[in-house]
């Protein structure tokens, strides 16, 4: 609680990412003006649009609408990426042949961080057992994949991050691992488990911290509807040690090309994709940006904005 209570934020959606080939499809859907108008009317009616704190009920309403809109897009190319402990992975529920869910969220890709406990080199394949402290998981790499430096770098006793798809084959669950990366900064291990807790909390309790850190609105001008005015300063700059970083992020978000992305976000588009874009720009810190958006006529109002835990890369 001490870890989370320092930050007032809530998630706009699960971490979803959209593969490149379906991006066009996503844009086509979101360009459906009828839908957008309806959505806008519904949200306008339910939320206050000025820079005042939203009541928890209004926030969770907005929250639910954005989440429902995003999850109603049942394209198989829209996948979830969930950080999980192996204990959680063991307790997922299944409804059908290949549909797994945990805490009410569909699972597609999982992220695991653990120690390589066993590594066996057989002629055609390499068998690994990874132990994250809550359980062990086995996976193997076939011989032709070993040429890739990613797998070659893995040694016994090393901490690695795995990404894979959860599969169900004849009643037996396994993870089809497609990415293995050694962990170099061990804060990543703590971060992964904290993130597991955080995502679990979000999915089960719909936790939504009332109050807000920073509020600002873009001022629409005739020339450029997304032009921001000079009043766009963050308050409390003298008390906040992270003010400089936050101002840097705000400056980045205020660029016109990113405001377009923000509009897509407000329509329920993927958050992780945008977050990744930001991560590529600012590799100094791993920053989790949580935004709460609503829109009023042609401008976007950012209601809640907070930067999550800072982990050095």
């Amino acid at each position: 609680k001490r870890l989370f209570s320092r930050f007032n934020y809530f998630y706009i959606s699960d971490e979803k990412f959209v593969s490149l080939k379906s991006k066009k499809l996503v844009l086509d859907v979101f360009q459906n003006r009828e839908r957008r108008r309806r959505r806008r009317r519904a949200i306008d009616q339910r939320t206050s649009l000025t820079a005042t704190p939203l009541s928890p009920a209004a926030v969770s309403c907005l929250h639910r609408q954005l989440r429902n809109f995003a999850s109603s897009f049942k394209n198989r190319d829209v996948s979830t990426l969930l950080p999980l402990t192996l204990k959680q992975l063991n307790s997922v529920s299944t409804n059908g042949e290949s549909n797994f869910s945990i805490d009410g969220v569909d699972i597609n890709t999982v992220a695991i961080v653990g120690r390589v406990a066993r590594m066996e080199n057989i002629i055609t394949q390499v068998d690994f057992v990874v132990d994250d402290g809550t359980g062990c998981i086995e996976y193997n790499c076939w011989c032709y994949e070993r040429q890739e430096t990613e797998v070659e770098a893995v040694r016994l006793g090393m901490y690695v991050r795995l990404h894979g798809h959860l599969k169900n084959f004849q009643g037996k669950r396994s993870v089809n691992v497609f990415s293995v990366r050694p962990v170099t900064d061990f804060n990543e291990i703590v971060h992964h488990f904290t993130e597991c807790i955080s995502v679990h909390m979000y999915n089960t309790k719909w936790l939504c911290y009332s109050g807000y850190c920073y509020c600002y609105s873009t001022t629409p001008t005739p020339a450029n509807p997304y032009q921001t005015g000079p009043s766009n300063q963050l308050p409390n700059q003298f008390n906040d040690p992270m003010h400089g970083v936050k101002q840097e992020v705000m400056n980045y978000l205020n660029q016109p090309m990113h405001l377009d992305a923000l509009e897509q976000l407000a329509n329920g588009a993927c958050v992780l994709d945008y977050g990744r874009d930001l991560l590529q720009i600012n590799r100094k810190y791993m920053i989790k940006i949580d935004l709460s958006l609503t829109f009023q006529s042609s401008s976007i109002v950012i209601k809640h904005f907070c930067i999550g835990p800072k982990v050095r890369h």
Partner: protein, 106 residues
């Protein structure tokens, strides 16, 4: 997928509660002798870690092993965590992983 022998995240205060069970913790190395290492846990409790440690040790070392008492661990696995590890984050994780969110870990 095997979850039969989990190791609990502990700090100094939690070590006593889990005597005899498999635990994992990160200590800041204060001193080392042959056969044991003296370390300070993330909540500033001094503990002894018995076992043969790999040399050299970095400032922070993760130890996985069996808790013998409230201030000693018999280590099975040692991992150097470097010099830039944040002990406060780990301390908070220990509290959460043994408290409200125990069902995600054990």
């Amino acid at each position: 997928m095997d979850t039969s022998s989990p190791s609990a995240f502990v700090n100094g205060a939690l070590l006593g509660r889990l005597a005899g069970r498999k635990v994992r913790t990160v200590v800041q190395v204060i001193g080392s002798e042959i056969g044991s290492v003296v370390g300070k846990t993330t909540d500033d409790v001094q503990i002894f870690v018995r076992g043969s440690s790999p040399a050299p040790l970095t400032t922070y070392v993760e130890v996985i092993g069996i808790a013998e008492s409230d201030n000693s661990i018999r280590a099975e696995t040692w991992t150097n965590f470097g010099n830039t590890f944040d002990p406060q984050n780990f301390n908070e994780l220990c509290k959460l992983a043994n408290g409200e969110f125990k069902h995600l870990f054990m």
